[in-house]
Symmetry: C2
Subunit: 342 residues, 2 copies
DNA sequence: ATGAAAGCGCTAACAA
DNA sequence: TTGTTAGCGCTTTCAT
């Protein structure tokens, strides 16, 4: 169990002062150093296998070269590609990422923010933000760079990268309309998440644009983006509005839940009710009927978020407050023309 | 952008010395402190919203309360539950986890170990170990606690938690045997991963136990646990041994690849060739024919590994060097009796 | 029971 | 160009 080498050890070996070593090893040291000494030190350091202690450096510089990544649950297939996109982008710049799972529980989120702050993270990327998020708001006040991915906050100062929820919904709605559907319901996401809110708003707008009658009563809000919620809302919605022929769900999990709800009422997908989702989760290819959905860019959203954070960290020109990634309509087997009422 | 509070601020507010505050706030401080002062300090600290700076504390105590978690790729469905098991177990004890993806590339792994060491992690949990892993070996030499999950190393000093690969393979083999198969092939995992090696050994052993003729030539080793490799090995194996009626694959991804390989030869699963996997990945339920496989405990393996690490970190009695978690045979539609040769 | 002081490994003024 | 020195925020030994 060799004690770990310090600058002092290198200094002794190279017969110079610690600060000289520090300068020699600092890639962007502004101080002038003679080539010869600098090189000698580098050689000695490499020979000895010296590795800097970033904890100590961080204490002094107030930079930990560590960023916090907050997600609801790594077990949800939506998040691993995002996390990977973040890590792949940050790692080459020397940043490591501390990962925490919030389970969308506000108190847990607050505690985890503390955990991250205690570790002195230089910035935070959250994929778990609520529209109104006191924890994030506080971070902003403290001047800690925060980027929100996938969701956006109501306060406008937090830079965000989201997918084009609006266009995605419009594409789905147009698809339904083109197939001939006129009574279309929406299982909306939670009201406190921007994804839920934006998609529901797009639904309303889209209905109006297509000249459909007021659809406010055809929107049922789920409490969580979970299958069970999708099922519950679907059953309630269909009970109240048995003439619906198409169901636009705010994400894939709600849509899979809708399948169950529809079947529990003795109806079939898509013959009786067409269903769509959002996100294009990998499982969908293989759950029959294969879900028509909107494909979002997952790895890329992580990548874009990481770049934004890097920019903020390196104090470059202020980046965009909002970045919207394009989406793609994926038509599969869960949608078809409505049955003629003859 | 308020400057962050330090012990000094609390000390000033409570009108005591910094060290007194440090003692009062340390839950397991051995030094005696008067109840009254201690309580007063705690109240003041809470009122002020003081949060300790673990970076500074870590510099002094040489404990960062951070552990490194190394996985091949968070995007692979096998790993998120393991990571979640680790995080859920460690978090209540005040440990945060730094996550890194190795992609099973040795050089990358070495660099990432450095990244973790520079951050002063107190220990490392790796789900990405190679049987012969120089990086891990060095960590052990340095006295940094390491736990290997899912895989084990050839050197016997690294504690590991694995699933019962041996029994899993025997169960699959018995299942084949009971169905009447006698010519059984094995698409093995990479030789440099313990999972590949243990499963291949179990296959050989099992064949012998069932009185099957020497099966060494019915084992084809893949280079990576990937679908494309499964397909390649399957085609090669079936070309050389067209009389095979059952294929035991070392994991689910290889098995899915085997599906493609079998079909490319104009054969059907399971009518012509029965196929099995290992791990029970979530997708399988919905890829036809649903794969017969072995279910391993994913969350639990993370949990067990985290507990082992906690034990090592808290310097308790030495834990077990090896922990083997039980597995379960999941019979689905990819296996059936061989066609009678009549 | 509390205060004083040293020091963890590093960086950054300031001197020389 | 290099050395000296102070100090980041905390813990801990040693005094008191």
């Amino acid at each position: 169990m060799n004690k770990r080498l310090t600058l002092k050890d290198v200094a002794k070996a190279a017969d110079v002062h610690v600060s000289t070593v520090s300068r020699a090893l600092d890639p962007n040291s502004s101080t002038s150093l003679s080539e010869e000494v600098s090189n000698r030190i580098k050689v000695v350091a490499k020979e000895l296998g010296y590795r800097p202690n970033r904890i100590a450096a961080g204490l002094r510089t107030n930079k930990s070269m560590t960023v916090g990544v907050m997600i609801p649950d790594i077990t949800n297939t939506l998040f691993p590609p995002i996390v990977r996109g973040i890590e792949s982008t940050l790692e080459p710049f020397g940043y490591a990422t501390i990962l925490v799972n919030t389970d969308n529980i506000p108190e847990r989120e607050l505690r985890l923010i503390e955990v991250l702050r205690e570790r002195g993270v230089d910035g935070i990327i959250t994929v778990a933000a609520h529209r109104n998020d006191p924890g994030i708001a506080e971070l902003i006040e403290l001047g800690i760079p925060v980027i929100s991915l996938n969701r956006r906050l109501d306060i406008s100062t937090v830079p965000y990268v989201i997918n084009d929820d609006n266009v995605g919904m419009k594409l789905l709605l147009k698809h339904f309309f083109d197939l001939g559907h006129r009574r279309i319901g929406h299982i909306a996401g939670p009201r406190d998440l921007s994804t839920g809110q934006i998609r529901a708003a797009a639904f309303s707008e889209g209905c109006k644009a297509h000249g459909l009658p007021d659809c406010a009563d055809l929107i049922y809000y789920s409490d969580r983006f979970e299958e069970a919620e999708g099922e519950r809302c679907t059953v309630e919605l269909l009970r109240t509005n048995p003439d619906i022929t198409a169901l636009l769900c705010a994400n894939d999990r709600l849509a899979i839940g809708a399948y169950s709800g529809i079947r529990s009422l003795g109806l079939r997908v898509p013959e009786d009710i067409s269903v769509t989702g959002f996100n294009d989760s990998p499982i969908l290819e293989s759950i029959p009927p294969r879900l028509t959905t909107v494909r979002i860019q997952k790895f890329e959203i992580g990548q874009a978020g990481a770049k934004l954070l890097l920019n903020a960290l390196q104090g470059g020109a202020k980046g965009p407050i909002g970045t919207v990634l394009p989406v793609e309509l994926i038509i599969r087997d869960s949608t078809c023309a409505p049955r003629s009422e003859s």
